[in-house]
Symmetry: D3
Subunit: 286 residues, 6 copies
C-alpha cells in the first residue's frame, strides 16, 4: 500500500477508464456464505459497494444467510435437514429463516453500509410484493422452498431514486402472502434481468469455476453461455456451483452484459474486478 501521494493519485487515475465505462450503470452483487460472516471481510465488501455508489455506479446487494440460519435453528433446538442441497423448510424453519435473513443479516449489512459512509435500505421480497414465488414441486416435499415467478422492481427503483443502496434478503412471497425460502443466487440473477443491470457479481468462497473441481489451480477465467451449459449438463460442477452458474446464465440470457463468480474472501474483489484490468474469478458472457 503506497504512502507516496503521487503514487496514490496515479492509482486513482488508472481507475478512470473503468469508472467512465460503468457510470450510470447498475451492478447486482450477491453476497453470502462464510465470506459474509467474517466482520472484517464484510466491512471490506461494504466499502466496495459504497465506493461504487460514490462514483456513480448503482450497486444492489442481494444476500442469503447460511451459517447464521443453522446457528439460530440450533438455538431453537431444530436440526437443519438438507435434501439434494436444498434445505427442508417446514413452517417453523421458514419462520426462523425469515427472521434471521430479514431481521438480522439484512439489517447488519445495512448498518455496515452506513458505517462505511453510505446510505442503505433493507428490503425483503415481501416489501412492495417484490419477489413473487411458487412452491418448488418435486419428488420430495421440501416445504416452503420456492422459485421466483415474478420480480416487481418498482420498490427497488424507489430506493434508487432516493439515493439509497438497496439490500435485499432472499425471502419471497406466495400468492397467499406466505413466505418462501428462495435461492439467493437465483434472486440475484432475476433482479439483474428485471433491472437491466450491466453486471452480475456472485461472491462465493471459492476462486471461481474450476475445470477440475478437485484442483483449485484449474480456474476457468472465461466461460461462454454454451460452455457453461455444457458443464452443467455434464455435471462437471459441484452442487454449490450449479445455482450460481444457473443464475449467471439467466442473467446473461436476459440481457446482462457480463456475470462474474468471484472469491469473496479476496479483499476488495469487487473493486479489483470493476476498476482494474486484472481478471479474477470466472466471467460468463454471451
Amino acid at each position: 500500500m503506497p504512502h507516496d501521494p503521487g503514487a496514490q493519485a496515479e492509482v486513482l487515475i488508472q481507475a478512470m477508464p473503468y469508472i467512465r465505462r460503468y457510470r450510470g450503470k447498475t451492478v447486482v452483487i450477491k453476497y453470502g456464505g462464510a465470506a459474509m460472516v467474517d466482520e472484517s471481510m464484510r466491512a471490506g465488501v461494504m466499502q466496495d459497494l459504497v465506493l461504487l455508489h460514490y462514483v456513480g455506479i448503482q450497486p444492489i446487494l442481494v444476500h442469503g444467510g447460511g451459517p447464521e440460519i443453522n446457528e439460530a435453528m440450533g438455538k431453537f433446538g431444530k436440526v437443519p435437514q438438507f435434501i439434494q442441497g436444498l434445505r427442508v423448510t417446514d413452517a417453523e424453519t421458514m419462520e426462523i429463516v425469515e427472521m434471521v435473513l430479514t431481521g438480522k443479516t439484512n439489517k447488519a449489512l445495512v448498518s455496515e453500509i452506513h458505517r462505511q459512509g453510505g446510505q442503505a435500505v433493507g428490503l425483503s421480497g415481501k416489501d412492495g410484493n417484490m419477489l413473487v414465488a411458487r412452491k418448488v414441486e418435486g419428488e420430495v416435499d421440501l416445504g416452503f422452498v420456492g422459485e421466483i415467478v415474478k420480480v416487481n422492481p418498482h420498490v427497488i427503483n424507489a430506493q434508487i431514486a432516493a439515493e439509497y443502496i438497496p439490500v435485499i434478503s432472499s425471502v419471497a412471497v406466495g400468492d397467499n402472502g406466505e413466505s418462501y425460502n428462495v435461492n439467493a443466487d437465483h434472486v440475484a440473477g432475476a433482479i439483474a434481468v428485471a433491472l437491466k443491470a450491466e453486471k452480475l457479481i456472485l461472491l462465493t468462497d471459492v476462486p471461481g469455476v474450476l475445470s477440475n473441481k478437485d484442483d483449485p489451480q484449474s480456474l476457468i477465467s472465461v466461460l461462454t453461455i454454451a460452455e457453461a451449459k455444457k458443464m452443467i449438463q455434464n455435471k462437471k460442477v459441484d452442487k454449490g456451483m450449479t445455482p450460481k452458474l444457473d443464475a449467471c446464465l439467466t442473467a446473461v440470457n436476459g440481457g446482462v452484459d457480463r456475470a462474474h463468480i468471484l472469491d469473496g474472501r479476496m479483499p476488495h474483489a469487487i473493486l479489483i474486478e470493476v476498476f482494474t484490468d486484472c481478471g479474477i474469478g470466472t466471467m460468463i458472457r454471451g
Copy 2:
C-alpha cells in the same frame, strides 16, 4: 351491516366531510400488543390503513412486538426479565427482539396490507439511519434499551413518494451501528412530529385512559396537555399507559393536531375515529 345499496351509498356520503378534512394529511398509527396477534383483528386494522390510503390520507404504521418476542425467547431457552416495565435486553435478547420485530412481525404486517389491496414497505429504524438512539442510563443497566435522539425522515418520505404505506419496527440504531430496543409508542410520537402528522393514533388493548384505573367504565374522552401531564405526575395512570400518554404529549407539543388512544380490539376503530363523529377512546389535544 346494511344490504340495502341505497343505505350503503348513504354511509359513503356521510364519510365525505371527514375525507375532505383529512385528504393529503399524514396519520401515524401505533399498533401492538394482543390486538396485533389476533389474525382477524390484524386483517381489520390493515383494511383500515388501506382504505385511508385509497381516499388520499397517508398512513404510517409503527409497531412493537410483545407476545411474539417472549415466545421466541422461550424457544431460545431465555427467560424474559423486566425491571420497572422495561425489558432487560442483553445482546442475545436484543438479537431476538430485532429478528422478531423486523424479520417476522414487520413482514407479516406488510404482507397483510398487500392481501388487503394496498402496497407497503417494511422498514426498521436502521434503514436510512431513520431512528438514532442512545442507551437509556439509569440505576440499573437494562442493556440495549434505548431512547430516540434523532429521526431522519428521508427514508420514510421516499416510500410515501413511491406510493407505499411505510411499516416501521421499533428498533433503533446507535452511533456505532448497534441495535437498540426502543418503546414503540415513543417511536410513533417522534415520527409523528418529524413528519408533521395531522394525527397520532395509538391502538391498545384497553378502552382508553381511565380516570379510575380499576374501573373500565371511567373512560376519559378528552384530555388537555395540562390534564395529561398532571395525571402522569400524580401517577393516576398505570405503567402501560404512561409511555402512551408520553408519546401523545410529545406529539401534541410538537405540532400534531390531535393524539388518540383507542381500543384496537374494537373492529375498525381507526375508521370510526377518522370517518365518523363517534368519539371513541381518549383524545389528547393542545
Copy 3:
C-alpha cells in the same frame, strides 16, 4: 341508514374492492332532464361526483338543459318547435340555448359541486375549441343543430391536472366560431372516447332500456353491442333512448370498457353502480 358506527365502517370496507378497481380511472357522466331540475336530486348527484373525486376517480360531468331552455324561451316569447325530436334552432333560439346551458345550468352545477365540498370548473365546447361541430344536414333545415366532428381534450386535461371536476355544457363551435346545439348524450360519448374513459354513465328519467317500451318492468340489465344495434335497427327503443344507445355504442366501440344507462332519480345511483355489486339500470359492453 345505519347509526351504528361499526356498521358504517363495515360499509366503507365493502367499497374497497371497487375503489381499488377504479382508482386513477376516468368516468364520464351525462346528466340532464327532469332529474337535473330537482334541487335535492341535483345535490345528491353532485355528492356522488365529489366522493368519486375524493377516492381518486376522475369524474367528468356533461350536461344538457331541457326544461330550463323551454322556460327561458317562453319568457322571451318564443314557442319551442321540434321536428323528429330535434329542436328547431334559429339564431335567436341558439342564443337562448347557449345562455341557459352555459350561463345558468352549467354554473349552477359548478356551484353545487363547491357546496358539496368539491372544486369544479365549468366549460362549454367553445372553451379551448373543445367541441368542434358541423351543421346537421337533412330534409328539413333545423338551423344551428350540429354534430361533433372533433374533440380537443387539452382544455379538459388542464382542469384535471389542476384537480378540478370539469363540467361541460353541450354547446359546440363551428368553423367560423358560430355556436351549435349538440346532443349532450353524443357529447358525453365522444368525450369518453377522447379521454379514454373507463366508464360512461348516462343518467336519465327512466329505469334503463326496456325490452317492451310500454312495460316498465321489462328492464334489460345487460346489452352487448350487437344486441343494442339490433334494437335500434328494429326500432325497439323510443326516441329519447336512441341517442343514449348511440352514445353508448360510440363509447364502447371507441374503447370505453362499459357504458351504463341509469335512473338519475334513484338517490346516489352513481355510487350504487360504481361501489356496489348491485346491478342497476342497463349496462352496454363489448
Copy 4:
C-alpha cells in the same frame, strides 16, 4: 399602413425594447361597454391580446356586459332600474345578468380569440370559487349586487399553465352559492393584485380622465395616487369614471406597477400603449 417590407421590419424592430420590458409579465385588461359591442372593434382588441400572448406577455381579460344585458332584459319584459349608477338586481335580473355575461358575452369573446389565432378559456367567478363576494349593504336594497371579498387565483393560474388566455365574466359567488353582480372594473383591479400583474388596462368609451369633465380636450396624461384620490374626494370625476379610478387605486396600491384608462374605441389602443412610446389615455402610478 406601409406596404414596404423594409418599413414593416423596421416597425417590428422598434417594438423590441417594449417586448423585452414586458416579457414574462401579466397584464390584466378590463373590457366592456359600447366598445365591446362593435364587432370590428372587438376583433381588433382580441388581436391585441393574442399578439401580447405570442410575444410572451400573459393577458387576462375581464369583461362586464352592459348593452347586451339591457337588451336581454327587454326581451324578458323587464325594465332595467338603476339607483346611483348601480343596477337594481332582483333574483330574476341576476339570472339574466349571469346568463348574458357568462353564457353569451364571455363565449363570444372566447370564440373571437380563437378566430384571431389564440387559445382561450372562459370563466366566471363561480369557477373554482374564483371570486367570492358579499352583498353590498346600503340605504337601499339593491338585491344581488355584491363586492369582492376574496380572489382565489388557482383556477386562473391553471389556464395560464395550460397556455390559455383566461376570459373572466364579472359574476361572483356568495357563501351559499348564490350569484352576485359585481363591478367589472373592481374585479379587474382585484385580479391584477391577486396575480401580481405588471399592468392594469381599463378600456372605456372616453379618451381617459378629464380635468374638466365637460371638456374632452382636457385629458390628463398622468395621475399620481394622491392626485387621483383627491379628484374622487372632490367629485371632479363623473359616475362612470369613479369605479375605474377606484380599481386603478386598488391595483397600484396593491403592487401593480401602472394602471391605464384608455379609449377602447381607438384601434389597437392596447398595442399602442404597450409597444410604443406614444402616451395615450390616462396613466395612474404610485
Copy 5:
C-alpha cells in the same frame, strides 16, 4: 418608416399569422462574408435574431469568417492560398483560423446579441464534441480541411434549455482532438437536420440563385430538390453558391421544411422572409 402609432400597430398585427406558424420552431441561420463585417448590417441581423427569440422562435446562428481570417493571416505574414475554392490549411493557418473564428468573430456576434437585448452563448464545434470531422481526402492535400461526420446536439440543446441563442463557429474536432476548418454552410445544413429545424436560412452577398450567373436580374424564387440537383450537376451555379445549394439539399432531404438563400445585405432580410409574404431570395423545398 411610419411614425403613426396606429400604422405601427397595424404592422404588428400583420405579422401575427407568421408568428403563429413558426412559434416553438427552430430556425438555423448561417451568416458570413462581407455582410458580417459591416457593423451596421451586423447589428441589423442580430436584431432580427433577438426578435425571433422574443416571439418564441428559436434561432441558431452558424458563422464562418472570411475577410477577418485573411486579414489576420496577413498580420502573421502568411499568404492565403486556395485550391478549387478551398483554403489550404496548414497547422499554423488552422491555428489562425480557429483563433479568429472562435476567439474574435464568434464573441463579437455574442456581444452584439447582448447589445440588442438578447442573451447568447458562443460555441465552437469542439465544445461538447459538437462537430466531429474527418480530413477531406483528395488529389491535393489541403491540410486541416475537414468534413462533418457527426453532430452531437446535446450541447446546443443545453443552451436552448437555458434560454440562450447559440452562436456556433465552423471549427470541428477530429478523432485525436485536432481542429478542422469546415465549410460553414455545410455546418448549418448538418445542424438544421440534427435539430429537426423548421427552416434553414443562408445569408450571403448576392440576391439568391441566378438562372444566368452573369445576370443579377435572373433570380430564381423557388427551386425544387430535383431542380437544384440538376443545376449543380450542369454546373449552372458558381463556386460560392455550390456549397450553399449542397447545404440546402442536405437540410431539405433531412427533413427541414424549407431552406432559403437570402441577400444578407438587405436590411432585416430575415424578418422580411419570416414575417411577411414578400418572397425574397431563393427558396429550396422538397
Copy 6:
C-alpha cells in the same frame, strides 16, 4: 505506482472519506502560466478535473494565457509592454489576447478534457454576459485592462446542469460590449464566490507562499486571512503572488471554505490536495 491490484484497491478505499466530504460540492480551479503550456502536465491536470467530475464533485476551470499571448503578439510584430506587472493593452493587443485566450487556449483545454474522457464547454466572460468589467483607472492608462464588477452565474449553471465541465477564459465585457483583459486569479476568486464554491485552487509555478521569497524552502502551509492581509501590506510577497493572495482573500471572505495555492508542476497536485491528507502548497482559511 503499485501493480498489485489489492494495493490499488486499497488506495481507492483510502480516498473514500475525501470523496464523501466533497461530493456535490463545487471546486473552482485557476490554471495558467508555464504549467499550462507543457502538454504532459496539461493532460495530467485535465485528468484530475475529469476524475473529480466522475466522483460527483463539480470542477470549474478558469484559465489565463501568458506565454501564448506573447508568442502571438510576436508573430503580429508587436512587443509586449508591462507596467507594474500589468500588460499594456491597446485595442490591437486586446484583440490578440482575446483570440489567443478564447480561440486557442480555451478550446485546447476543452479538447484535452474530452480526450481524458470528460465533457466540457468553453466560455469567455462575454458568453451570457458572465463577467462584466470596467476599465482599471490609474496614473498610467493601461488600455483595455479591466476589473470585475459583476458575475452572472446563470450561463455557468446551465453547463453544470447539462453535465459539462465549464472552462472559462479571463476575458470580460464592458458596458458597451468592449472586451477587457482581466486577471485570471481575480476571475477565479469572483466565480468561486458567485457559485458558493467549497474550494478555490490556484495552480501556479511555485511551491506556494514563501515566508522568505528568496528561500524556496520557506513554504508556509497555512495562512489565516489576517496573516495573508498582513503579508500583502508588508509587501512580503512578490508581484506574481499578490493577485493570487487577493483572489484567495476574496474567496474566503466571500464564503468559500478554503483556498489553496498549489504547484501546478507537481503531477496530480489537485488529486493529492483533494483526496489525501498530504498537505501541499499553501492553504488560506478564515
